[in-house]
């Protein structure tokens, strides 16, 4: 059975999401901590969430306003979490 181009693309996104989850888990298992680790883990989480919203939810085909709202959500929530963690580290 031949996969359509959009199905193949969704499959690639799925594989990437699983790979990034494994990366997050491995960082946790390695006991890594600190400012840069926190920023990398947060960035991975926000990129993964954005990928689900953009490609799985098909927001990439909608008006730029909806994509902007979703992007701003991840930027603001991720940004404020980062600020809180930096305060904790200080």
């Amino acid at each position: 059975m031949q996969m359509s181009q959009s199905t193949l693309f969704s499959t690639c996104i799925f594989v990437l999401l699983v790979a990034l989850t494994f990366a997050t888990f491995s960082i946790g298992e390695a006991g890594m901590a600190g400012k840069y680790t926190m920023l990398i883990l947060l960035a991975i989480a926000m990129i993964k969430s954005q990928m689900v919203a953009h490609y799985f939810m098909s927001l990439h085909q909608t008006r730029p306003l909806w994509r902007l709202i979703m992007l701003m959500y991840f930027v603001i929530v991720g940004g404020l979490i980062a600020v809180a963690y930096l305060i904790g580290l200080a």
């Binding site: 199905t7 494994f22 997050t24 960082i27 989480a45 939810m57 404020l80």
Partner: protein
């Protein structure tokens, strides 16, 4: 020649990009944005509460089963992928395939619930409750609140599967499938943030 090129450039720039509406019912999108806002506030509250007592949060976090969290993340991502395949199938009028993909997502949803139950059982068995400390208050309330959304998503998926089997959706009319799919994807990406926040970042 140059004039012809200019005209074609002007024509192409006047071509309107056709955007699609938000997938599914717009009323559900209001609900999705509201839920995102609530979870967003809870995530930020967790992070600022942690900043007040980093040592307590780090020590308590070590008692969580990170493996369960990671497995549940992969389960939700896989179920989301199944839902994508289900939506793609109904758009091609493949109702049986759509029902199979969505059933797969539903099964994975129940595996997620099962793992979460084991996790909660372990914690309650160890005498941990919401009043133990601030970390557990956030951990239990965030994950339980999310679990409620998973259960709600499963009810929606089960309804859509039953309706799909009865032939209620087709390539022309599949708003219901897209509506349920959007909700399930929201449940997925909220967990994608919750997992590293509560289980990994320290």
């Amino acid at each position: 020649m140059q004039t012809t090129n200019m005209i074609s450039v002007k024509e192409s720039s006047l071509e309107k990009i056709e955007y699609q509406n938000l997938p599914g019912d717009f009323a559900l999108w209001i609900f999705i944005f509201a839920e995102m806002l609530v979870f967003g506030v809870l995530f930020i509250a967790y992070a600022f509460s942690r900043a007040q007592n980093v040592a307590l949060f780090n020590d308590s976090q070590l008692t969580l089963n990170r493996g369960f969290g990671a497995i549940n993340t992969v389960i939700l991502i896989t179920s989301s992928y199944f839902v994508v395949r289900g939506v793609a199938a109904i758009k091609k009028d493949l109702t049986h395939q759509c029902a199979y993909w969505l059933s797969g997502a539903l099964v994975l949803g129940s595996v997620f619930v099962g793992i979460k139950m084991v996790e909660f059982y372990e914690k309650f068995n160890a005498g941990i409750s919401m009043s133990t400390n601030n970390f557990y208050m956030f951990y239990l309330s965030l994950t339980f609140f999310h679990l409620m959304h998973v259960l709600m998503g499963m009810v929606i998926l089960a309804t859509i599967i039953a309706r799909t089997r009865r032939g209620a959706y087709s390539a022309k009319q599949h708003t219901g499938v897209e509506t349920g799919a959007s909700f399930w994807h929201m449940v997925d990406f909220l967990w994608i943030i919750l997992f590293p926040l509560v289980y990994v970042i320290r």
